[in-house]
């Protein structure tokens, strides 16, 4: 006790406060603004918000629910729902602001809302908070508090030199640890599902990878897509274009994850996983014309329903453009065959080297089968028909690609030009680059296209990869003429400047400027400006409605002839996933048609 100073008068020191200015905050006379980072009421930029409901997913108190906003258009990549916040639940923790994929949800510094009626404590925030008054911005997310995983896992690829040397697959795929990390980036908002032409259950199969249950992933994938090995490599992946994470970071690698899932499940277990060990057969028989993606998809879904399927294919093997159009370095044949063999194992018969319209007529199919699905695709290359295209050193890309796929000898010259800006042009250019490297040890290829680089239909990655492999691009050029020497060999391709490709109504109507001429010497020209189809086997025998160049089909891929269904590029393009969707629709349509529900 001794050391405790004590004095009865020491508390007197408190009296000095009588003369000091009181420290009371004179609220409400003087307003007392909250701190810069204060977590106040919510505000939300309704245009920037895409309704991905990730805030609802992270909300600790189930305070956020999504509300239909009729005046907001539900175009691609967003939903017309916006978050509604229940202030009878909210705890102002700000996790929703930290996770918001577009950064539209923020917090003001406003903290005072009082009301007699508890039912007013709910709001769908817009640029004003619940008090409908503008308040300065409060808490803002920054790179430390960000809850999203914005950086993509880079997938291992061969470097350019190794790529050009051979046709082996350039993308090596994810390891288990990489795939699970990449899968963990998905916030399961399902905006990709809305955009995918086949509406695949993408978050569900990614979650299967994350939970290390690949069987679950395979089940989710096969519900809408029977060719996952193919789509896991060559899909045009529109889903990644609208992925919620792509707004502030890099999209989730949805395509590579699909590939990882099916690469790591043995096809021997497919039947057990998908419950197709024994399928109860009904006695109906369906004919499928064309073993491309659309035909295979229809065949798969119909045989799972119990129908007996026969696929007529005029080439010597199944796959259509997947085998004969897409080069091996993008889609190896063992991956393609894994998908096809599973479909064969379901009891689908394939009749190869049989061209419907020659070896067997569509009418005969109509008699022998209860319904027919036509998916013959577009296999004839179109020509620019500029002077000189009749020369025999001018080839069609599709024919060359088919021959390369068959392993046949293909003419390869020292210096060649490809006309075209789409994925087929990329495929032929990069395939010829490999053949040139093999034959001459160097690459000398020029690709010209009407479109300038930003509107070229080919994938952006493809263009970059091609450039890395030594291919030179001359975009925005119109082919005028191929000059031919006397001995028939080619001299050069003369091109003018292509000012615009589409007119106001977005129809294909290119305009040129002849004053700007550029010529490219070459001893070979390959045209890859699009393909046409040969529907004579249908048109000769049946009156069928067309919508422009393509056959008109309803939501069940049914044509104007009720027993005839059509899909793939002849009805709806432009890519594999759309073909798969039309095949799946046809299967459902045929099933309904044969049960008189259509």
């Amino acid at each position: 006790m001794a050391n405790d100073k004590k004095s009865i008068f020491s508390p007197v020191t408190a009296f000095k406060n009588l003369v000091k200015k009181p420290e009371t905050v004179r609220y409400p006379a003087e307003s007392n603004d909250a701190a810069k980072r204060y977590r106040g009421f919510h505000i939300n930029d309704l245009e920037e918000c895409i309704g991905c409901s990730t805030c609802q997913e992270v909300c600790v108190n189930d305070a956020i629910s999504m509300v239909e906003m009729l005046d907001v258009p539900a175009e691609e990549g967003q939903r017309n729902e916006r978050p509604q916040i229940d202030y009878g639940r909210c705890c102002w923790c700000g996790l929703c602001v930290d996770v918001c994929t577009t950064g539209s949800l923020e917090m003001s510094r406003d903290y005072s809302y009082i009301d007699l009626d508890p039912d007013t404590f709910i709001v769908t925030p817009d640029q004003h908070d619940i008090n409908k008054v503008d308040h300065p911005l409060g808490y803002l997310r920054d790179e430390n508090s960000d809850l999203l995983d914005l950086k993509r896992i880079d997938i291992e690829m061969l470097d350019p030199e190794a790529r050009v040397d051979s046709f082996i697959e350039i993308v090596e795929g994810f390891s288990k640890e990489q795939a699970e990390k990449e899968a963990s980036r998905c916030v399961e908002c399902e905006i990709c599902t809305d955009t995918c032409p086949a509406n695949m259950n993408i978050p569900q199969y990614i979650r299967g990878i994350f939970d290390e249950e690949l069987e679950e992933s395979v089940q989710q994938i096969y519900e809408d897509n029977p060719l996952p090995e193919v789509c896991g490599r060559v899909c045009t992946h529109k889903c990644e274009g609208v992925c919620a994470i792509s707004h502030r970071g890099e999209a989730v690698s949805i395509r590579w994850l699909k590939r990882y899932a099916v690469d790591n499940v043995d096809s021997a277990d497919y039947k057990k996983i998908l419950g197709t060990e024994k399928i109860e057969q009904n006695n109906k028989k369906i004919a499928v014309v064309g073993a491309g993606p659309a035909g295979l998809s229809a065949a798969h879904y119909l045989s799972v329903m119990g129908y007996q399927i026969t696929v007529y294919e005029d080439k010597e093997n199944a796959g259509g453009m997947m085998r004969y159009g897409i080069p091996e370095y993008r889609l190896p044949y063992d991956a393609l065959d894994k998908d096809i063999n599973y479909i064969k194992s379901l009891g689908v018969d394939f009749v190869f080297n049989t061209r419907v319209g020659e070896d067997i007529t569509l009418d005969e199919l109509h008699e022998q089968y209860d319904a027919v699905f036509a998916a013959t695709g577009l296999h004839n290359g179109r020509s620019t028909r500029v002077p000189g295209t009749d020369n025999n050193n001018v080839y069609q890309a599709v024919n060359l690609l088919a021959d390369i796929a068959r392993g046949k000898e293909v003419p390869v010259t020292k210096n060649l030009v490809v006309i075209g800006g789409g994925n087929v042009a990329m495929d032929i250019a990069r395939s010829m680059a490999r053949l040139q490297m093999e034959k001459y040890g160097e690459v000398n290829i020029t690709v010209t296209s009407l479109e300038t680089e930003d509107i070229m239909p080919a994938d952006q990655e493809e263009i970059e990869e091609a450039r890395e492999e030594g291919i030179v691009f001359k975009p925005g050029r119109g082919p005028k003429e191929i000059e031919v020497n006397e001995d028939g060999s080619l001299a050069q391709l003369c091109t003018n400047c292509c000012v615009s490709v589409f007119d106001e109504e977005m129809n294909f109507n290119p305009t040129f400027d002849d004053s700007d001429i550029e010529n490219y010497e070459c001893d070979m020209v390959i045209e890859a400006i699009g393909q046409g189809g040969d529907n004579s086997y249908i048109d000769d025998q049946f009156e069928i409605e067309y919508a422009g160049p393509r056959i008109k089909i309803n939501d069940f891929s049914q044509t104007s002839v009720d027993w005839l269904f059509a899909g793939g590029d002849i009805a709806r393009g432009p890519d594999v996933i759309n073909a798969i969707r039309t095949g799946h629709d046809a299967a459902v349509g045929i099933d309904k048609y044969l049960n008189d529900e259509l």
Partner: protein, 165 residues
């Protein structure tokens, strides 16, 4: 002043641990059979582990077991020991540690109230935190609080404004 390894040697020699592990610096975990636990507590208490932080209970529903964890600390070694033992979920009976640490009576009372574990020798196990609670002890994994809440209470629908999908 023992370090973690010396402590483990002491434990391996004198007690019959099923598993011993140095989890992190100054943190050791020891698994024992239920019958050896009370004796282990008094042994350790006599070896400078006088501080009982608390007794935790974990309900391993799938494995049909309650895991009781006694957290001890020594003011000489500065090491935390988590003494673990597993008892069958049904009937869920264990002895009291009241004689060694009188305060354990209240930790056991808490575990009884929230898990339903009986502690023989501790007669002070009546309700303390909850009030006339007639349902399953709430911390057991088979008691679903959201289901309980959804049928006990109603939610405000803000006269139709709340959008529940």
């Amino acid at each position: 002043m023992r370090n973690e390894k010396e402590l483990l040697e002491l434990i391996n020699v004198h007690l019959e641990p099923q598993a011993v592990e140095i989890k992190r610096e100054q943190n050791v975990s020891v698994e024992l059979a239920p019958k050896n636990l009370i004796q282990a507590l008094s042994f350790l208490k006599s070896h400078s582990y006088q501080h009982l932080s608390t007794i935790s209970c974990v309900d391993w529903l799938e494995e049909g077991a309650f895991e009781l964890v006694y957290h001890l600390f020594s003011y000489d070694d500065y090491i935390n020991i988590s003494l673990k033992t597993r008892i069958k979920r049904e009937p869920g009976i264990f002895q009291t540690a009241k004689e060694i640490w009188p305060v354990a009576e209240f930790y056991e009372r808490d575990i009884h109230e929230f898990f339903g574990v009986e502690f023989k020798g501790n007669d002070n196990l009546e309700e303390m935190i909850l009030e006339n609670w007639q349902h399953l002890p709430p911390m057991r994994k088979d008691f679903d609080t959201r289901e309980f809440v959804n049928d006990q209470y109603e939610w405000r629908d803000y006269n139709g404004q709340k959008h529940t999908d």
